[in-house]
Homo-oligomer: 244 residues x 2
């Protein structure tokens, strides 16, 4: 049993003492925010976990103030819930929210594909080339990759699709609502939707895009994005208390 698995068996979310990087231009609260956000998305801090300001402050060797700011930002992200005089808790995964995110993602990514039709040829080919590159990296990783490594490549693939819209803005906006979905993907990757399967999906999408078959690409992309609305059920079976 590795360290993170061990943590997940504990009732309270505990951390090793962590020394924040004081030399870098990043503030303490910002570093704490990034750290906690990652721990929530990779489910080290699983749904329902209590995040105590005092405890976190002690672990990071800072006062409560920077921790409070980090928690405020996490609440804004919809990842935690702060109840006055009770505590701060990692939110449970909301299935309606998951479906909503799928809808928003497929709406935006498919429309980005549609915009690609208006793109000038050079720009179009540039993105297609980057997609091919990314796909090769996915294959190179193969089954030997960790979930986190593959997730980054998967994100990059979909970011490139969004860039067909002419800018990176659409993808950036998706980040704000994507966190809840990523928490589930972290699990399905190891159980149901393994990398090999996702790579197949990406490959089909890529081929349709490259051959400028918009309708096919759009349909495949939509199915690909909505896959999680089926696969989450298996994760839910094993961890019912994590879902809302």
């Amino acid at each position: 049993m590795d360290y993170f698995s061990f943590l997940m068996t504990m009732k309270k979310f505990t951390l090793p003492d962590l020394i924040l990087n004081t030399n870098v231009g990043e503030s303490a609260s910002s570093q704490i925010y990034s750290f906690l956000r990652e721990r929530i998305i990779d489910n080290t801090a699983f749904p329902g976990t209590q995040l105590s300001e005092n405890e976190l402050a002690a672990h990071f060797h800072v006062s409560r103030q920077p921790v409070r700011e980090a928690l405020t930002r996490l609440r804004q992200d919809g990842l935690i819930e702060i109840i006055p005089q009770k505590g701060s808790f990692v939110k449970k995964i909301s299935v309606p929210n998951l479906i909503g995110v799928c809808f928003v993602r497929s709406a935006i990514e498919c429309n980005a594909l549609y915009e690609s039709l208006r793109l000038e040829d050079a720009s179009f080919k540039e993105i297609v080339f980057k997609l091919a590159e990314n796909l090769n990296q996915q294959k190179a990783l193969g089954e030997h990759s960790t979930s986190l490594e593959f997730l980054h490549l998967d994100d990059e693939f979909h970011r490139l699709i969004c860039s067909f819209s002419g800018s990176n803005l659409a993808w950036e906006m998706l980040q704000g609502v994507k966190a809840n979905m990523d928490r589930i993907r972290f699990f399905t990757l190891e159980n149901v939707s393994k990398p090999a399967h996702l790579i197949q999906g990406h490959e089909k999408i890529y081929e349709s895009v490259a051959s400028r078959d918009y309708f096919m690409a759009c349909g495949l992309l939509r199915s690909h994005l909505y896959e999680i609305t089926h696969t989450y059920k298996q994760v839910m079976e094993e961890n019912k208390e994590w879902f809302l």
Copy 2:
């Protein structure tokens, strides 16, 4: 010259002393956040305005902490920029961001229209009925309304369109990215895109939706949403220093 206009002529953003509601369950920081967010969207706190933590704390008769939390949330919304040891400033309006928001909105709202085709008849008719009701309210307000009143009805119209997707989630997600767009709409409403014109647009969209002409409705909605990418230019001419 009314009070708000007066404020807008000043270099620093100043406020009258405001007493926060202590009896209500809402925290001080939350009240300050809501207040400042509205002032930024209605351009009382115009782009470039400095928001001093000390000054705000004095005006609200609280310490810096709740003000800091409010500012942190505003930064997360992309409405202000906090520069350490320099100050917090209302962000300028970004034209690329505006175009990005238009893209995201039209992608989501048009896809919601598409989902309406799968909706069962009763649900469909219920939303159409609400749209008609809303449209009547818009007409009732007429030209005698304030920008803010009309904006609320306009928002409700588009929220109803999003509800064709089966839930309110898509609209809620749009709120996070819509703020920058609303700042411009507040001006164009009084200069270029007057309510009467927008009501005409809404009416045409409504008719297409009601007669289940998906392609027409989608096209009209898209044009309607992208209108601001042309009308903003007039506002920009008069206030170049507010734009990025």
